[in-house]
Symmetry: C2
Subunit: 131 residues, 2 copies
């Protein structure tokens, strides 16, 4: 298992009505998130812009992933409100053993905005784990 | 890149109203899918039951993944209608270079039921690719 975390930010998502000033809200989000992570001195967390995570109805969408960890797809995010929470969630995800961060430690947009989660390759279910 | 494909089937999904006879529709789906893949002589495709992919509103949900390929999360699947399509999609996914199967070759439930897709670890966007 590595602690290298990747955050894919969808730059195809259209802006939400209240955020219509940004033609590419995902690109703004990616840039702000990178700045915040740098500010925090975070290491090993890479933000990548990608075309289309296929969650078009809940912009902006990100996917947080790492080798050996559960992947989380989170939607309904906007740079102006959520960058600090996303950075905090990324650090908690990086510290976690398997990508599953205890519910109480998850920023609110990560509780409300979950689109899906996917186990790591080779995962075998032994017992129920918190979603 | 490997051709080992993993299909995670959510067994936490509640049954849809029209399918209420099955208490655990995901388990039924996983079993039927395994049987279908065996019938087809498919190799290197593993079906795993998992607890909760966090897509509770669109049962049943699966995630199809492989090292070096895009992961697809697909919902609205039921064993009685979709097992042949899921098996066909898994074979097309396995044959594909990066997990992105040409639109025309995707079974209809894989066009309509997409919840999200996530790039492989280390992915860098060079050009737009079909969702």
């Amino acid at each position: 298992m590595t602690d290298e975390v990747e955050i894919f930010v969808c730059v195809s998502c259209a802006p939400r009505a209240e955020n219509a000033a940004h033609l590419r809200p995902g690109a703004v989000l990616a840039r702000s998130l990178n700045a915040r992570l740098t500010e925090l001195g975070a290491a090993g967390i890479r933000v990548r812009e990608v075309e289309c995570l296929a969650v078009c109805k809940r912009p902006s969408t990100i996917a947080m992933t790492a080798a050996g960890k559960w992947t989380y797809v989170i939607g309904d995010l906007i740079a102006e409100e959520h960058v600090a929470d996303i950075a905090a969630a990324a650090l908690a995800f990086q510290r976690s053993a398997n990508g599953i961060v205890p519910w109480a430690e998850r920023p609110v947009p990560f509780r409300k905005g979950v689109i899906a989660r996917v186990p790591p390759l080779g995962f075998e279910q032994h017992a129920t784990e918190t979603a």
